[in-house]
């Protein structure tokens, strides 16, 4: 009978599939066997699982595999369950995960989002372990006794306490195609002002007319990180805290000048979409196909671009984003990540050891090799003397860097619909004047940042 058959099939399917659950999942990068037992001293050899969440694109699988092998050898009985998370939607996912009875033990949080979790009490207070974790003896980023990079150190502190350990930093530079530069007769060292950059973009555009869909300077409509550089370059800011209330300041004359810079760069011939960001389409793909002479990107995107097409290997180099003022460099947004230990974790001792390993000298040097700025001032200094590209990036950061407003509520501005992106698209598609679009963005930012805490 048809129904009986259907029911039987359904039951069989469920049982059959459930039977497959006993087989180990084939492609997991780390073992998933051991269950976490009761938290006792780390010295015991009972089976424990340490759950680690790192973000997509931060550390290579090989690096982490090597680290986990070393860690597990030093901690018998412990298995590391390592999972890579996507940036899209991470805030909602972390909110749910950190509030659960068994949160992931170690989480990577972007430096603009760390305050959010620290303020909520979701991360473990590690103030007394600062020295042990490699942060030196002072919490003041301007002091010589504070070992971590200033921006990262500040983003890990909330309400006077340390809640995370700096992991790595990064800032943007201009990645350019050496061959196309030579062919067009442009000297990268000469690009030290906005005018020169636009000039170079136009020259490249003319020299490469025959390439379909070519951009001298590829810049999509919604690269708000680049926008922030231009705004800060004129002395403007996204928002300021006036006595406890946040006020958007995109409509100030300085900020508007920065927005105008963005428009000028976009109109210098970029074929990027006006209504999307650097991921749609992926600008690395555009660069790898030879369809862009320059792009504003993070240093790690250089290696990433080369991995997309063998033909572009060895043809890329970098220089700092120039300021609108001739001879100066534009300030750059100091991006980066910190590592936090969940306050509700049952394996805090193991977690601390794991974090110490990844933020220690050995693995930080591996991070440097991958094109990241390490977390400590000393390592950053030595790294740049060995790696020319990194030196350029670090030099740009040293010339001037900034971070997004330090407030837990900033995370909600970045997630979901980003008002800065909307503002840019409105201006670039001609739907609103810079002043009007900036005002609207200001209102939105204020609304999100002045939520009662």
């Amino acid at each position: 009978m048809k129904l009986k058959q259907t029911l039987a099939f359904g039951l069989a399917a469920v049982l059959g599939v459930a039977a497959c659950t006993t087989a180990p999942a084939a492609s997991a990068p780390a073992a998933t066997g051991a269950q976490s037992a009761a938290p006792t001293t780390a010295a015991s050899a009972e089976a424990r699982t340490l759950t680690v969440w790192l973000m997509n694109g931060s550390a290579s699988d090989d690096l982490i595999k090597q680290l986990n092998t070393e860690f597990e050898a030093a901690h018998p009985g412990v298995t590391v369950k390592y999972e890579v998370q996507q940036w899209n939607g991470i805030v909602s996912r972390l909110n749910g995960a950190l509030a659960a009875p068994e949160p992931p033990d170690v989480v990577e949080t972007g430096n603009t989002q760390t305050a959010n979790y620290a303020a909520a009490g979701a991360l473990m207070d590690v103030t007394d372990k600062r020295a042990d974790l490699g942060g030196g003896t002072s919490a003041d980023s301007t002091s010589a006794d504070e070992a971590w990079l200033g921006g990262l150190n500040d983003s890990s502190i909330w309400d006077g306490k340390l809640y995370a350990v700096p992991f790595y930093a990064g800032n943007r530079i201009v990645i350019y195609n050496k061959d196309q530069f030579t062919a067009a007769g442009i000297d990268p060292a000469s690009i030290t002002s906005k005018a020169a950059l636009i000039d170079a973009a136009k020259k490249l555009q003319t020299a490469n007319k025959s390439i379909a869909d070519y951009s001298g300077l590829y810049i999509p409509g919604q690269n708000w990180y680049a926008l922030m550089s231009f705004i800060e370059d004129h002395g403007g800011h996204i928002a300021v805290n006036e006595g406890g209330t946040w006020k958007g300041t995109l409509d100030s004359a300085e900020a508007q000048a920065g927005i105008q810079d963005y428009v000028d760069y976009f109109k210098a011939g970029s074929t990027g979409p006006a209504d999307n960001d650097e991921a749609n389409p992926e600008q690395a793909t555009v660069m790898a196909a030879g369809k862009a002479g320059m792009m504003i990107a993070n240093l790690w995107e250089l290696g990433y671009t080369e991995s997309k097409d063998a033909a572009i290997k060895g043809k890329l180099a970098v220089f700092a984003i120039p300021s609108s003022t001739a001879g100066k460099k534009a300030p750059v947004f100091l991006g980066g990540s910190n590592l936090g230990i969940a306050a509700g974790s049952n394996n805090q001792d193991l977690a601390i050891d794991w974090v110490k390993l990844l933020t220690g000298e050995k693995y930080q040097k591996l991070m440097i090799a991958a094109g990241n700025v390490p977390n400590s001032k000393n390592l950053a200094a030595t790294a740049t003397s060995e790696n020319a590209n990194l030196a350029v990036a670090a030099g740009a950061a040293a010339a001037g860097s900034f971070v997004t407003p330090q407030d837990p509520r900033w995370a909600s501005v970045e997630s979901g619909a980003n008002p800065l992106k909307d503002m840019l698209t409105k201006v670039l598609t001609g739907k609103a004047s810079i002043a009007d679009a900036a005002k609207a963005a200001d209102d939105e930012i204020a609304a999100r940042m002045n939520v009662a805490q």
């Binding site: 659950t21 492609s27 997509n56 694109g57 379909a212 991921a279």
Partner: protein, 275 residues
């Protein structure tokens, strides 16, 4: 309008409508077979030539894909079975019996369909946290089950109402008890309705993303919709991979639909048309 012209006009409209409904699906499938260089082109390539299976390979060799597939199947099928059993019991009672509170229960079923499920995420999270079910597969089964129960009851009620009660009575006069009457007489007639109703439960569970994403901690507990989401990262979208994954994701639902499509609307139309 002369008959012949009318026929041509209707056929033309028919063809246009067919294209309108089928084209997006065709576009998805054909993109899945395209070489990377043929995907982002200014002049669309309507036929993927030369075709490639690379996108499909990328899609199914994603880490944890076997886990996602297993979880989606287990959860969706379990949701369907649970919803059908519980829903059928309730639908039988409502359709066949007159009792106090019947209209209220029916109203409850109708109102329950208005619940905005995305907005119930945090309350559900709290309930599941209390029950220690976070990061457990049954949490998703129970959640999807309650999402689909109201509609299942309503649709099954309609299907049952379309089966004359005399049939059961006749069987009972012939000596069968109530249960036997149900099993041998009603159930076979109800079979198409059961299968048709199950499709709604299935696609609700199969497609759901938000709860799976937030309630499950371990990647190994995720479902296929989360897998679909991994093709669009903060660094770019793999369109070939996305379309290949989407095609595979749609396949079971499509097959299910094709098999039972003509039965699906019965429950709502039974007894509805004033004839």
């Amino acid at each position: 309008m002369p008959r012949r012209l009318r026929r041509i006009a209707i056929n033309a409209l028919g063809v246009a409508t067919i294209l309108a409904f089928a084209f997006p699906v065709y576009w998805m499938a054909s993109t899945a077979f395209k070489q990377p260089g043929d995907i982002q082109t200014y002049v669309p390539k309507f036929v993927p030539f030369p075709p490639t299976l690379d996108n499909f390979t990328t899609a199914v060799t994603r880490p944890y894909f076997p886990d996602y597939l297993r979880n989606s199947l287990v959860i969706s099928i379990s949701t369907v079975l649970l919803a059908l059993v519980v829903g059928l019991l309730a639908a039988m009672a409502i359709a066949r019996a007159r009792f106090r509170g019947r209209k209220s229960f029916l109203l409850l079923v109708v109102v329950a369909q208005m619940a905005p499920f995305e907005a119930l995420l945090i309350p559900m999270y709290l309930v599941l946290r209390q029950a220690n079910l976070l990061n457990q597969i049954p949490a998703l089964i129970l959640t999807y089950f309650i999402f689909t129960l109201p509609f299942t009851i309503w649709a099954l009620r309609g299907f049952i109402a379309g089966i004359p009660a005399d049939l059961e009575e006749a069987a009972m006069v012939d000596g069968a008890n109530r249960f036997q009457a149900f099993w041998h007489v009603v159930l076979p007639l109800l079979a198409p309705g059961l299968v048709a109703t199950s499709i709604f439960a299935f696609i609700t569970a199969w497609n759901e993303f938000l709860y799976a994403y937030v309630l499950m901690r371990d990647t190994a507990n995720f479902t296929l919709p989360v897998w679909l989401a991994t093709f669009r990262t903060a660094f770019g979208t793999d369109w070939g991979g996305t379309m290949a994954a989407s095609t595979l994701f749609t396949l079971p639902v499509l097959v299910f639909f094709l098999l039972i499509q003509n039965r699906m609307v019965g429950g709502l139309t039974a007894g509805s048309v004033k004839g």
